[in-house]
Amino acid sequence: MRLRGLVTICVGMWFTMGGLAQAVSLTIKITNTTVAHPLRELLIVAHAVNHPLFVSGNAAPDGLEELAECGKQGALAAEMLSDDPKADVWGVNSYRAGVVSYPKLLELGVDNDNLVSLPGLVVTNGANTRLSIVGRIMLTNDGFAGLEAALIPLEPGTYTFYMLAYDAGTEANNELLIPDPDLRQTPPACVNDPYMAETKGDVTDDYLGDNGIGASGQEGSNPFITIHRGVLGDTTRDGGKSDLDYIHHRWHGAEPAPSSAVATVKVTVQ
């Protein structure tokens, strides 16, 4: 295949506005493929070409910063709907977001909890030809899983996409847990704390450590949304640079997914 090696390809129109001929109903299944990073507060958006949910290479807007750093989708959902009231926005466990009341962890382990299945998502506006999904990658500073403006196929069938790990570019990746639950901030204040959004008690994970000195102090030189360079981690539970583990907390997508893939999305077009 000539395009071998490319991750994804989509052809679009940014000038003339095409559109879906009629309302399309989607079933979306999202599987977390990481070993140790639950995804939370997934926000799923069908949108027009010129109203993206996020753009890699750009600076993250406030709502995305809050989602990536705090794991809260409300501000981003509101920003999206204010940018384009005709966007179809769904939060996991709360269809038609803006009213996001039942955030759910998408985590590995018990009872297939690494999979969410969302049937009957109806794309109501013909201009909403793109699908974007974001969710906080727990146990990172400002990492989010993202599907960036994938073209919604017109033919009925099931299609596979990959959510990649992005770095929002808004906080240094020190990989430190909130040392004391009392220090936990609620949005929007939580974007100002230097920690990941979790305490040790938030996630059942024997590989979490304490008292790290900080893996990286550098984020200022690149304030843009990039592909996440991955977790550094360290080899000690107590102390070391990071509160994360150098093997357990890494992710590495395998072919045909790119190495930054953290979730697989199956979209069924009815």
């Binding site: 991750v7 679009g12 559109g19 403006a149 550094l232 790119p258």
Partner: protein
């Protein structure tokens, strides 16, 4: 790969006709008829801290391919990957450079270097940054595109696409490509300050860029496996070689990357 929906409303056609009429009014009278096809190509560096050398862009028809995954790299790819070299300079020794060699190929229509959109100067790209180029070519050909740049905080890493069809794009349509990092297979990945050219560009070290010696694990192009940095936690690994590699690496954790490493946006403007 497939097109956007073809359902274009009457009002859109009217708007297009109107716009074309307006544009037609301000055309250059000396312009040759039929007017050229114009593409605008943007490359976004999606890594956190891998510097991309100036980006070479080649428009061609079938029959040209800058590299082949799994095959031996030609000298021009070795120069690009190891030293960020695109074209022969006035004082260069004899040799082969990507754009210089492409210029001699009958299948190649145009070669250019990407520029900074505000200054118009050819630039390399820090992490998260982007550059652009405008390509004006005679209409009606089945054009393909090659975009390539060296990753300057690796020994012989490069990224881009080669031989991607763009002739199918209608006016106003765009194509988004995510690119992998490749290992040219031309230099061992020691990641030392003496062999990684980024240290000559940014840290005033005596780093050697292009070196005609071929001492990599195997002399063919592969996907890049990533870099070993001196921040790498090695755990209780008893692997002496790995430890030596870590201790000899001039890179730090910010230079790590996962795939994909860049986004390329191809828009057909006219």
């Amino acid at each position: 790969m497939r097109r956007e929906a073809r359902f274009v409303t009457t009002s859109t056609w009217l708007a297009m006709a109107l716009l074309l009429a307006v544009l037609g009014g301000c055309g250059n009278q000396d312009e040759v008829y039929p007017p050229n096809t114009v593409y605008r190509v943007t490359m976004v560096n999606l890594t956190y801290n891998q510097y991309f050398a100036p980006v070479g862009v080649i428009v061609h028809t079938g029959g040209y391919q800058a590299w082949t995954l799994g095959a031996e790299a030609e000298e021009q790819i070795e120069r690009l990957a190891e030293g960020g070299q695109l074209a022969q300079a006035a004082d260069s020794e004899p040799g082969k450079w990507l754009l210089t060699e492409a210029g001699k190929d009958p299948a190649v229509v145009l070669t250019k270097v990407m520029v900074d959109t505000s200054s118009g100067q050819a630039i390399g790209l820090l992490g998260g940054r982007q550059a652009q180029v405008s390509l004006s070519v005679p209409p009606g050909q089945d054009y393909r595109l090659t975009v390539a740049t060296g990753m300057m905080f690796t020994n012989d890493g490069f990224t881009g696409v080669t031989d991607v069809s763009i002739g199918q794009l209608g006016i106003g349509e765009s194509l988004i490509l995510y690119t992998n990092a490749y290992d040219a297979g031309t230099e061992a990945n020691t990641e030392t300050e003496l062999t990684v050219y980024g240290f000559a560009l940014f840290n005033e070290k005596e780093a050697i860029g292009y070196d005609p010696a071929r001492d990599d694990a195997h002399d063919y192009i592969t996907l890049h496996a990533g870099v070993i940095t001196h921040d790498e936690p090695l755990g209780d690994s008893s692997d002496q070689d790995l430890e030596e590699l870590r201790d000899g690496s001039g890179l730090n954790e910010t230079h790590r990357f996962l795939q994909p490493v860049a986004k390329i946006i191809v828009e057909r403007v006219s």
